[in-house]
Symmetry: C2
Subunit: 252 residues, 2 copies
């Protein structure tokens, strides 16, 4: 049982529960509370931190959702083996590469508007023949070709993307700048052998293993915005995902 010093600023625009969440997360990351230790009970915490119990609960719940804390009724709130950290932010390959320090480079091989064929229309949930923005890029990490990226976007969201922009930023970053915030995506991941064309583009042998990903993305307004059909050189790329299950056990 350890007391955690939390300082809140009631003049800040940041919500109280968020301030507490951040401080608590830091305290756990710094080891001020160790794995397996219990927090004080919620009423005490509310007194210590001079906030109401629902506010305390909200902060704690957010950390429970990330797997940092575990609550058991009648027992208490415990810090978990934190090895497994929060779900990764929904990001593009470009962002991932830049975050890991590998210099990304992009060659835009095509950028145009076309009418959606049946497959694209179905994935994006629009009528067949609707105009969509088509995009094909080759992505490098340093000098190594890494992936062939094909994307289809609804025109309302793609707006005025230029080749220039796409060579210097990730697609998702550009979308965010235009007010499109990715919110939910479903990805289907598979593997295949490289075709002649793919082998040549990625500078690998024909038949070498490729990782394939097909992704449909919705934005914060619930619009289906993007279909991505991507092919990665499996020797240089893996996909990491986090799955959180809130069923199976009692609901929160």
């Amino acid at each position: 049982m350890v007391s955690i010093q939390i300082s809140t600023d009631r003049t800040s625009p940041v919500p109280l529960h968020r301030q507490i969440y951040v401080e608590l997360e830091r305290a756990i990351a710094c080891g001020e509370i160790r794995k397996g230790e219990y927090l004080d009970n919620e009423l005490d915490l509310a007194l210590q931190w001079q906030v109401s119990r629902p506010t305390v609960r909200r902060s704690i719940q957010d950390l429970v959702d990330e797997g940092v804390l575990v609550r058991r009724r009648g027992v208490g709130t415990q810090v978990v083996n934190a090895q497994m950290r929060r779900p990764v932010r929904l990001s593009s390959l470009y962002d991932d590469l830049r975050a890991t320090g590998r210099a990304p480079r992009t060659a835009v091989s095509s950028l145009s508007r076309r009418k959606a064929d049946r497959d694209v229309a179905k994935s994006l949930g629009i009528p067949r023949g609707t105009e969509v923005v088509c995009l094909e890029r080759l992505r490098f990490a340093g000098r190594t070709p890494l992936a062939i990226l094909r994307n289809f976007l609804i025109v309302e969201a793609a707006g005025d993307l230029t080749q220039e922009q796409l060579q210097h930023s990730g697609l998702y970053e550009l979308l965010r700048e235009q007010g499109v915030f990715p919110r939910i995506a479903t990805q289907v991941i598979g593997a295949k052998a490289a075709s002649d064309h793919e082998a040549q583009a990625l500078d690998i042998a024909v038949g070498a293993p490729l990782l394939t990903m097909r992704r449909v993305m919705q934005d914060q307004l619930g619009r289906t915005v993007e279909l991505g059909v991507h092919t990665y050189d499996a020797a240089n790329y893996t996909v990491e995902t986090t799955v959180v299950d809130t069923f199976g056990t009692e609901p929160r």
Copy 2:
């Protein structure tokens, strides 16, 4: 603007917010509220349903987290293009196969206790040399071999698994029966070419593309319970994941 009939039962052990959630979900699924339509505001809903506003908010929030509803401050709560449904439950391949009607069959090729090597120990977050339960299975869909499944489990959770059980149930199902509820898993998915041994086991050509998945799972108590190292015949299997991003846009 449509009024939704919600009937609640205050004698039920099911929480009110959950009852409302279920009814609301059904109403949306049945098309009683159509895509793009708005719910009444939260105060009105609280009056209509005879519950407090926080209870209404809780129900709505859960549906927002699943991407079924979208809230915008100053605007309202809107039903979303529901094509993209809730995150799939954290389940095993066996459960998946059975759910999709393909008859799963399992051959257990080994089940033993061994001391964890460095790799396993690191993944499970336990000291090297700790005893773990090792498990290797071959999974079939009908007559077709589909995957080679290797798992490593901490003994506290694996308990008294038997070959008999493993041939007739999925691993996760058995774990649930023993009180282990999967909660968070991180998966790294890649691809590789089939080795001699793998090709023979899966009855495919040497060098054929395989999908590989390495998964570490934590249970409801925050224990790191399982390491899975799986290899799938890419011709017959893909992995589907859902990614939800609650950052990027304003916090809820």
